[in-house]
């Protein structure tokens, strides 16, 4: 039996308050190997959740269990198998990528030979072999992001938490990273927070949507898409009618055409006679989930 099959991280009534602001409340989530796409509007509590899962921030209440061990009380139980790439992170500009990764390997407790081999492999993986000896201060944003990805993978983590990992990457690197995540996910738990729904669409095995510090949705993408069947519509309107339409319905997309504007709308009922049902995508799911107050929203 693959020992990784037993990997599980779960939160029980997890809460966090910052000076009177409730960032997360009674949050319950259970994850097994695979990629969780974490979606939510800015300020919904995603970063707070990830910082608590990454043992940086202590919860105000509740527990986080890693394979049954409470990591709030014993964070070391998780840290040796954790990889974390924060959204805003920096590097030491006067160190080279090689030196920075050696440093990170050491503080992750990796031994010399093993660390050197892993660093060499990762430099190839993130396509930084040629620039490995150059000071990080001269790297572009995308190159720094790749160094961040490499450090997160150094200790072959069983739990990988990545916050907006593809920001700053060019399309080729983004696809490369998405494929990498997919390859990794079979044997570990990956939590991917992003605003780029296409990244989630192509990689996530599970999706969680956070809203107002609560877990709103946690399901497989296909389940979510199935729930939206017959709730997404497209038709063409003239551009003057568009503002009024936006007041009435949740518009998830518009496309200029010669005869007007093609609109994509989420609605539980057919909005008008011209509207045609179309296949939902995850963007529709996400927007519908966070926009409950819209008239006609499928939510």
């Amino acid at each position: 039996m693959d020992p990784n099959n037993s990997l599980v991280i779960e939160t029980n009534n997890l809460s966090k308050a910052y000076k009177g602001v409730q960032a997360l409340k009674d949050f319950n989530l259970k994850l097994t190997p695979g990629i969780l796409g974490l979606l939510g509007p800015n300020g919904a509590g995603k970063s707070t959740l990830m910082r608590m899962l990454a043992t940086i921030t202590t919860p105000s209440g509740g527990s986080i269990l890693w394979n049954g061990k409470d990591v709030v009380k014993d964070p070391e139980a998780l840290r040796s198998v954790l990889g974390y790439l924060p959204q805003d992170f920096g590097v030491y500009p006067n160190l080279s990528a090689q030196e920075f990764l050696e440093y990170m390997a050491a503080i992750k407790g990796m031994s010399g030979k093993k660390a050197q081999q892993k660093i060499s492999d990762l430099l190839d993986l993130v396509n930084l072999r040629q620039a490995a000896r150059r000071p990080l201060g001269g790297y572009s944003g995308g190159m720094r992001q790749r160094v961040g990805i490499a450090q997160a993978l150094l200790n072959d983590p069983q739990l990988l938490i990545v916050d907006e990992p593809t920001v700053g990457l060019d399309p080729e690197e983004r696809v490369r990273f998405r494929n990498l995540l997919s390859d990794l996910s079979g044997e570990r738990i990956v939590i991917l927070s992003t605003h780029i729904v296409s990244d989630v669409e192509s990689t996530a095995t599970d999706i969680a949507i956070i809203h107002k510090g609560h877990l709103k949705v946690h399901a497989r993408p296909e389940q979510l898409l199935k729930q939206m069947d017959d709730s997404v519509w497209e038709w063409t309107v003239n551009s003057e009618a568009l503002p009024r339409l936006k007041e009435q319905f949740l518009v998830t997309g518009t496309l200029r055409r010669m005869d007007g504007v093609e609109v994509r709308v989420v609605s539980g009922i057919k909005p008008c006679s011209e509207a045609q049902p179309v296949m939902p995508n995850l963007e529709d799911v996400y927007l519908a989930a966070v926009a409950q107050n819209h008239k006609g929203g499928a939510g």
Binding site: A23, I56, G148
Partner: protein, 531 residues
Amino acid sequence: MNTLRILYHLARADFFERTRRYGFLLTLAAIILLGVLVNNGTVGMDLGSGDSNIPIRYHGELNSAWIGAMTVMVINTFLGMLGFYLVSDGIKRDMRTGVGQIIATTPVSRAAYLVGKWISNFTVLAVLVLILAIAAVVMVLLQSETALDLGALLMPFLAVALPNMALTAALAVFFETVPWLRGAVGNVVYFFMWVFSLMLWFMTQTSLTFLTDPMGYNVFSTSLYASASAAFPDGPIGQGLSVGSFNVTGTPIRVFNWTGVDWTPGTVAGQWSWVIIALGLILLSALWFARFDPSREGLRHARPKPEEAKEGEPVARRKKAHHSALPSLSPLISKLAQVNPFLGVLFAELRLLLNRRRWWWWAITAGLAFAILSSPPSVVNDYLLPAAWLWPLTIWSEMGSRERRNNTSQMVFASARPVLRQLPAAWLAGVLVTALLCMANAVFFISNGDLPGLAGWAGAVVFVPTLALASGVFSSSNRFFEVIYVIWWYAGPLSQNPALDFSAGAPQVYLLSAAGLLLLSAGWRGRQVRG
């Protein structure tokens, strides 16, 4: 073994990061200059007569023991203070760059992380000590009439200088782990702590039975006094050891032979006990070090505007804004800026300087002004006027470096006329705020008919913010100004030394200096803008 490896890599990365900076080259240059000044006798150590009316100085012969001890006392005096400011950035840098939040997720313990930073701090200071040790060897070879005695020369470095550097390195870590000691307040507190501890050791010659002072003052002064007394039994010889810059013109100098301290294991262990204390300080700091947890670091978050949702707050209301009509986006300039673009920037700079001050800050400002206007003149002159020239330190130290520190330089430098409009506006805002915050000083001078005092005040009102702006522009940091200003303030306004008191000196000198600094700042900022 693994812990040692972690410590090695923590210290190594931090050491490389510090020493590969351009600023470290300047530090090396300053240390080499200090070595030259010691070599040519400008800076040194001697014994006095113990009576200020009898200007006799006592020097040791230029042998290995004397040169070693003198260099070490110079190191402990200068690096004991400036070394703190030089190295107290390791943890702050990890916070600033965000590397800290990655470190927080690793198995490295709080104590190991802090010990690693301590070792790195110590290594940087030890490199500087090593340079001065080499300078001491050169001095013996060039100037001594006796042969080089490496044991006598280097023992003061090993037994006294290095433990003191270890303590300084630990204090830097300690101050960085306490949120309120991390910034300007900590810089000022350390300066006064250093001054008072120096006074304590020098004036009282306090020495515990098992522990001598970390500077090594008592280790050397006792032995030196004994040798000088033997050579000149009629004296008079004071036990006070002076370290610094000497103007010896016309002062009789008596030279005596000193073969060095009798380094017993007890003496060496006494000095190295400070390393144990330093380690204890580090381990103590680990108890409250927040390990980069933003919710425990005391970080103040900007108060969200009503239309912005806080994390965890209902986001539904934002949807309303989502569909609202587009606001008018042009023209972008405010009414004030329409009258005069410079005034618009000036007003914005004033807001930046004064925003975010808490109610208690304003209360203390007002209390200080009230005290100046209502206290006896002697109290005002001796304490309150100098205090008024220190209180706005955190406002001044933001000037010139705010764009770099807050990473807004690309936006600011890409705006219209960053050198000819924004920089002068920032300077003028600093001058106006200084005039406002030190207004009570001016009222005091006017009410006492002290026109020279008023002129000095006017000079300082222009000079101090200009110095702050120039320091910020050149160094891209607030610490440089905080350090040089506090030292200057202590030597000038507080000590009422006319040569250094910018608040009471000849205003034309300071106004001229301010003009020069402003031009240099504009030139340097121009270079920054051009990238």
